[in-house]
Subunit: 274 residues, 2 copies
């Protein structure tokens, strides 16, 4: 099983190190200086110059670059090509739009850091995390199963299977909207000198505020309708609290907070049961 | 120095235990069964039936109850009466509205849990946390200094001094708005089955969603104008992201995310410098 990792940033670099940790060697591909560093540090076995010699190609590039990489290169007949991007519908549609001689599986590791790049990658980034593996009617069962087994060996704590559209709906809410809210939250002038005035709520709310706008703008636009729908849902809820405060309606505010608390308790119960 | 703690919930109970840990005994006052439990567990030395015998009275009750307690009871001449509530302006105005024979100091410990009550109190709740001590023109300097010294011994990592109005403006943003956003965030239908679809962003965003509506509705109304102003600021920012997505304006979205990232970096720098 010859493995290639295309893109050796935070995710690809961590995948290379995690694969190495569990005894699987991989070659890598990235800009010359990044690939050289990964080789020097022993994260990869070799630097790839062509992509036909691999049984498994893991594409850890941003979505547009991932689609270009998959569309413009030639892979071995029957190879598994899996991308690790944060949107799945657009990439699945792209891959389906042309005939192919390989098995495509969309994946999304639910792990990250507030920093990026190979220099921040680490072998334990995925330990205990969830890996989403997209299963659609045309997904090759053997390839998906192989990847799921490999991801467990790499350290993932949980494999979640779903369709590409379901993935994009969920992620718009659990991750992408949260980053927008966090990014917007810090913009108040009142944030100056926050440090003595919080027990942790502010830090939790704003931990992920510093998104890389180049990467995230594209992620948002490749999943635009889902994000917009979730953002509008949140805006309509927040406006209810504003109306209760504006209208000095204590009972209405208490009801809104009560509904949120019940909902939180329901989600906690669902999560405990799984 | 005879100390009384009125209200033995999460904050008052933890204060009793933390005072005991640093060698200071306190009496307590609460509903009969709560006070009896605190006494039995050794958190307090005795149960108070009158309040005139104390040099320091720490009022760890919800704001309305705290104002009633301060307004309806008699304290020793020159006693220090300090409340530990989450709003300060309203209570300061209430205390000033009548003549008094004691020194009032408004305090707000920046520590808490997602659960409440004496049963969740602990001696280390305040360890390393920030304690806000309100200093106004009519604050008795000796009383404030005494409290600050005691709070350091109790375990607080930092004492922040500010005016009551500044406190309320800051807290509206760093804590109270964050609880509203969290409470609203969980209301999307998409939250069902979130567990496999997050690397932690969702948990951070919603950790504090389950607020006790009875307590928090009052906190919000006692600081209504500040909360409303911050909520409207956040709403106006969030609407800009929605407009960029709606109008398919990638450059505008990238600029919004960029501005948020710069602001986050600026706040991180401010915080590192202090």
């Amino acid at each position: 099983m010859k493995i290639l990792i295309a893109g050796l940033g935070l995710i690809g670099g961590s995948m290379a190190k995690a694969l190495k940790r569990c005894g699987r060697a991989a070659d890598g591909f990235d800009r010359e200086e990044v690939a050289a560093r990964a080789l020097k540090e022993g994260a990869i076995e070799g630097i790839a110059s062509e992509f036909c010699g691999y049984d498994l190609v893991l594409v850890a590039l941003p979505p547009d670059a991932a689609m270009r990489f998959i569309g413009e290169n030639t892979f071995r007949d029957g190879a598994i090509v899996a991308d690790l991007c944060g949107v799945k519908g657009e990439i699945a549609r792209f891959v389906r739009s042309a005939p192919r001689n390989f098995f495509y599986v969309g994946c999304h590791p639910m792990a990250g850091k507030e920093v990026s790049g190979f220099e921040n990658s680490c072998a334990d980034l995925f330990d205990g995390a969830s890996m989403i593996v997209v299963r659609e009617r045309d997904t090759d069962e053997r390839s998906a199963r192989f990847l799921e087994e490999m991801f467990k060996n790499v350290g993932f704590g949980r494999i979640v299977c779903c369709g590409a559209e379901e993935h994009d709906r969920k992620i718009a809410y659990t991750s992408q909207l949260a980053h927008i809210v966090s990014n917007a939250y810090v913009k108040s002038e009142t944030a100056n000198g926050y440090a003595g005035f919080t027990g942790g709520s502010f830090q939790d709310m704003t931990r992920i505020a510093g998104v890389d706008e180049a990467v995230w703008t594209r992620l948002y636009f490749l999943n635009r309708k889902n994000i917009l729908a979730e953002l509008e849902t949140l805006l309509s809820h927040l406006k209810e609290y504003a109306a209760a405060l504006e209208g000095e309606d204590e009972a209405a505010l208490a009801r809104l907070l009560y509904e949120g608390r019940l909902r939180k308790e329901e989600l906690d119960r669902m999560n405990a049961r799984r």
